[in-house]
Amino acid sequence: MRNFEEKENLIETKNLVKTYPMGEGVLHALDDINITFKSGEFAGFVGPSGSGKTTLLNIIGSLDVPTRGSAVVMGEKVETLSHVRAAHLRNQHVGFIFQTFNLFPVYTVFENVEFPLLLLGISVSERREMVTDALHWVGLADRANSNPSQLSGGQSQRVAIARAMVKRPALLLADEPTANLDAENSHNILRTMERLNRELGTTFIFATHDQKVIRYLRRIITLVDGKVASDEARNG
């Protein structure tokens, strides 16, 4: 699924600005962001609420577009992508995990995880194998036929991880993935993600202000008022 050069930066933003109209003025959600990510990173945007973490994550995930500047994700310029191309990029290369899990309530766990593969047109037998693998990664193979309503918060988030990872995307974006979880579940999930990052080489980028998550990150980009206040690498 990866069709860009591995040597290139996976993500590169240049002078990225995002503003929102607010009354008669504008709110600068992101102001002159210049960052790059290489494949295989396990990084996160940290900072207080309103610092622009989620906005930046959304732009990287082509869910939103910058007001000015540029964001190149896997060789694609987000600001010039049509919504069809943006959907294609997300479908092929990007996985998402959200604070509220966003599982589809009418599907079983298996079907939730299978969903991205359906959109990719993968054959039934291949789908079954890939979904089973993904559920094994997150330790939920025995809950394949359960409904989301029968799962705990931790289990639901693990299903969301499996759904995001099942197509083995180059990039996984996680927006406050542990916000609704207790400490034990948070650590379980983070360990799972760390393992997947190591084993599959998937790049993980988080938006978080949760210290439990921050402890796992190998690169921490601190945002304050929409600007990069610091960008530090740590030994993993």
Partner: protein, 391 residues
């Protein structure tokens, strides 16, 4: 295909909400097909009855004959030309002579049409053989059940019949009711007295003359006959068609109301569904569905209500409508006022065309109604949807 599959799963997954809509829509389905079937049955029954009892396989009219103008009857008769006589002799046609007259049941005058018919004819479903009955000087006549009810006459009753002969001279004679025919066709019944054509020709001095000639249903050849105009069944049945059409328009109002109610339910469901499922819509987009695909997903979800309704409607509709088709629909006592030749029971007809057309119309309307609220998704930005906003 994936969208259809997802839509189907979502629809079934919605549970009670889906089934309530399906039940309402299926009522509309069954009611529309049932009512249309009744109208179609009414049309067929009426058509068959008037063809059997009145129109046959078409009619030759004297050129002066106008069924809507009784005054035309004085001139609307002529000796039968050779072309028509040979058809009558071959048993492929029967002549009718129509003369204005009056009867005096209980001493009150009632204007009637005296209709002369061959007692031995078999072309029209009229019990004319009873006109052969000997009546000791009285004129044997047949009247219909409505006429009998209206005049109080019954079999064996005597009544005075008055008419004018060819010279305009009034004449009168006692007649005896030899048969009250039970007919569903009001146009051979109300205000009509049937008697032997030979006797009527003698009474009016219109020997060998007729007003019209009714062809057998099997008649294929309709040659041009000078002084006579051929009216085919298409022409003769036009009034019934107009009546059926007017009743169809009337019942269409009921269908529109039924469908409107069902569509409001679906529209409401769609609006609520889009409102409640904003985050799901955002997640679908995050997973790689384009806005248009999500819009179609919701549209198809809504439209599939009609598919489920068709299936659900078939489960109870087929036995129910099938029973009515077999047992018939008993009409109220005043059914004669409908202006149709219909019996005491109406037997609906459900053609494949009716069912396919109704299903197609409901499917198209449901799709449109489902599409209208879903259009909003096309303007939705993924990040807004994920935050639960309908920006």
């Amino acid at each position: 295909m994936v969208i259809l599959r997802l839509a189907w799963r979502n629809l079934l997954g919605a549970g009670t909400r889906t089934w309530l809509n399906v039940i309402v829509l299926s009522f509309a389905f069954v009611a529309i097909i049932g009512a249309q079937g009744l109208l179609e049955g009414m049309n067929r029954q009426a058509t068959r009855a008037v063809i059997d009892a009145q129109y046959g396989g078409g009619q030759y009219w004297h050129e002066a004959y106008d069924p809507f103008n009784p005054l035309s009857l004085a001139d609307a008769h002529a000796p039968l030309p050779e072309g028509l006589r040979s058809m009558i002799e071959a048993g492929n046609a029967t002549p009718l002579l129509i003369v204005q007259g009056s009867i005096y049941p209980a001493g009150r005058m009632r204007p009637v049409l005296l209709k002369g018919i061959h007692p031995g004819q078999t072309i029209l479903n009229i019990p004319s053989k009873f006109l052969n009955e000997a009546a000791a000087g009285a004129l044997p006549i047949i009247i219909g059940n409505r006429m009998a009810r209206g005049t109080g006459l019954k079999v064996g009753d005597y009544v005075t019949v008055q008419w004018r002969d060819n010279d305009g001279t009034f004449d009168a004679k006692d007649a005896i009711v030899v048969q009250v025919m039970k007919t569903t066709v009001p146009t051979i019944d109300n205000g009509q007295v049937w008697l032997s054509i030979d006797q009527l020709q003698d009474m009016t001095e219109l020997t060998q003359e007729a007003t019209l000639v009714v062809l057998a249903r099997t008649a294929r050849k309709t040659p041009v006959v000078a002084g006579w105009i051929f009216r085919d069944t298409e022409y003769l049945l036009r009034d019934i068609k107009v009546l059926v059409q007017s009743k169809t328009v009337g019942s269409a109002i009921v269908y529109v109301i039924l469908l409107f109610l069902a569509m409001i339910a679906i529209f409401d469901t769609q609006v609520l569904s889009i409102f409640r499922r904003k985050k799901e819509i955002g997640m679908l987009m995050a997973l790689g569905l384009t806005r248009y695909k999500v819009m179609w997903l919701f549209t198809i979800e809504g439209a599939l209500h009609s598919v489920l309704a068709a299936v659900f409607g078939a489960i109870y509709g087929i036995p129910l409508l099938g029973y009515v088709a077999r047992a018939g629909w008993t009409l109220p006592g005043n059914a004669d006022n409908y202006g149709f030749a219909i019996g005491e029971k109406l037997f609906p007809m459900y053609g494949a065309g009716l069912i396919i057309l109704t299903t197609a119309i409901v499917l198209v309307i449901t799709t449109i109604v489902s599409f209208l609220p879903a259009r909003r998704i096309a303007q939705l930005k993924p990040h807004d949807a994920l935050r639960g906003r309908l920006a």
